[in-house]
């Protein structure tokens, strides 16, 4: 039967592609089903007025030099048989945690952050060093780690809440599904990937990563079906049987690995006998929908940021001593932002100057807006973005040649994630196992996220549940 597979992978984002490659590489008959017409998911790309943009790439985390052993980046490249050099990585110049009273610089050399802390928080140097030692020794990727909150741990080492807020800020906005805090394992993952390893960018941006994955996918013989939205995942007697696509086809497999998200996956799970019924009763408790989503302005400039004297790569801006990492009550929260200058990596391969400004945003509020209002508020986001840049540097607005804004509803539309959530549900499934035999999660809601994290998630779930039987 040609609609019978060893494994069906739902979603052709970073995690689904990586899982598909691993499984097919060792002879499994695999099909990836993707609802969109292109790959990449949250980390995809698009074209507007002949310009190519990345959706979810400020920077790739986890930078290490070629040949560095046993680190996430080199591990994942090895598992996918992708040579390090093919990414043509450029390192960040430097990044900035920008609070009103202090500005902490960091780059891919951890010494810089240490020296900044000893300059501005000399009373915390000892505590910080001990904290780093503790972090270094913690096994953050053990699949049986319990969930406990990171700020409680940080407070055992650090007394100054201002410093704690500053250290947490980049880690929260780049990877916490929780508001104002994060699970300690996730904290350690983020701490290592951002402060101890660092930021880089593949030449050509996200397309470079995706093309490398697609080449591997083709080599491995994995099938990939676009425009194939999964309407239902079928189970019988507690075991997964396959998937029903929206266009009507049914594909069978005893194993299904889903990167849709935890609540999104459980929502479409259905007893085989109930398939034709109007209402399908799903007795499972619904996992929580992740609260955090973003809106982002992308502006093109007729000058490079360096011509304004800016050499920062990413700025984590916050306007008070406390960082509010929460779903905003209003459309978006302009008290804090991430400002990214993709030009400011060691080698700038972009034709124009680009600035990206990200705010936390509330999906429901954006979703409620009627079209004219929606447009109006998008322009407000753009104004606020330029204002933040102005407050950090100088007025950029005369230099803007093109701009685009995307919101949580854009994210929902293209990735299917409920409420446009970016870091997924707070109900993670570390070992990937759902209550249904043969149905596994990979990607964001398994617990590893970001570009590097989601690929590692796909690899480890494929290894664990698909290859090691």
């Amino acid at each position: 039967m040609d609609n019978k597979y060893d494994v069906i992978v739902i979603g052709a984002g970073m995690s689904g592609l990586a899982a598909g490659i691993r499984l097919a590489m060792f002879g499994k008959k695999v099909c990836i089903v993707e609802k969109h017409i292109i790959t990449g998911g949250l980390n995809s790309y698009y074209t507007r007025s002949k310009r190519d943009f990345d959706v979810g790439l400020h920077a790739m985390t986890n930078f290490v030099e070629k040949g560095t052993r046993k680190r996430p980046l080199t591990k994942l490249l090895k598992q996918l048989r992708i040579p390090y050099d093919s990414l043509e990585l450029e390192q960040q110049k430097n990044s900035l945690i920008h609070f009103p009273d202090f500005k902490l610089k960091f780059n891919n050399d951890f010494e810089l952050l240490l020296s900044q802390i000893s300059e501005y928080f000399p009373h915390e140097v000892d505590g910080f060093n001990k904290f780093v030692e503790y972090i270094n020794e913690y096994n953050e990727v053990a699949l049986d780690n319990k969930t406990f909150m990171a700020k409680d741990v940080a407070r055992k080492f650090l007394k100054d809440e201002y410093l704690i807020e500053m250290i947490f800020c980049p880690l929260l906005i780049y990877g916490s599904a929780w508001e104002d805090d994060m699970d300690f394992s996730q904290f350690v993952i983020m701490f290592k990937s951002i402060y101890l390893e660092g930021f880089c960018r593949p030449k050509g941006g996200v397309r470079t990563i995706i093309n490398l994955l697609l080449n591997k996918l083709e080599e491995s013989g994995c099938e990939l079906k676009f425009r194939s939205e999964v309407k239902n995942i079928i189970k019988k007697d507690g075991k997964v049987k396959g998937v029903v696509l929206k266009k009507g086809d049914i594909l069978y497999a005893d194993k299904v690995i889903s990167s849709m998200g935890h609540p999104e996956t459980i929502k479409v799970l259905c007893e085989e006998d109930d398939l034709d019924k109007e209402t399908q009763n799903n007795d499972q408790r619904m996992p929580k929908v992740g609260p955090l989503s973003f809106c982002e302005s992308i502006v093109c400039l007729d000058m490079k940021p360096s011509q304004f004297g800016i050499d920062d790569t990413i700025v984590f801006y916050n306007n008070s001593s406390q960082y509010h990492y929460q779903k905003p009550k209003d459309l978006y929260d302009n008290r804090s932002a991430v400002v990214c200058f993709p030009n400011n990596f060691t080698n700038d391969d972009l034709e124009e100057g680009i600035a990206r400004v990200t705010f936390m945003a509330n999906y429901n509020k954006w979703h409620e807006l009627e079209k004219p209002l929606y447009k109006e508020h998008k322009s407000k986001v753009l104004c606020d973005s330029l204002e933040i840049i102005q407050s950090i540097y100088e007025d950029f607005s005369p230099q803007v040649t093109f701009s685009d804004v995307f919101t949580p509803t854009t994210i929902k539309k293209y990735t299917g994630h409920f409420d446009g959530t970016v870091y997924g549900s707070t109900d993670k499934l570390r070992d990937g196992k759902t209550k249904t035999e043969g149905l596994f999660l990979c990607g964001t809601d398994q617990g590893f996220l970001g570009i590097v994290g989601s690929m590692l998630s796909g690899i480890s779930m494929a290894n664990l549940h698909g290859l090691m039987e």
């Binding site: 060792f26 040949g67 080199t74 591990k75 090895k78 598992q79 040579p83 390090y84 290894n463 090691m468």
Partner: protein, 81 residues
Amino acid sequence: MTAQEVRQVVVDIIADIAIDDDVTTIDDATPLREQLDLDSMDFLDIVMELKKRHKVEVPQEDYPELATMSGCVQYLTPKFQ
């Protein structure tokens, strides 16, 4: 297959897995893990590649036999006959 040929089979597989490592300098007596960027996941890959390319199966309890190159050759050569 001669022992030398079996060694080459293993070297070829390792070269494809430890893609950025130099496999021409492997010392046969020293554990592979100490010389190359290989972890337990990669050993699983070596075993799976042996099966995929040469239909040679290595049961899990025998994985320790593959710790060094000379161990690999000694353990695998009879399986290639």
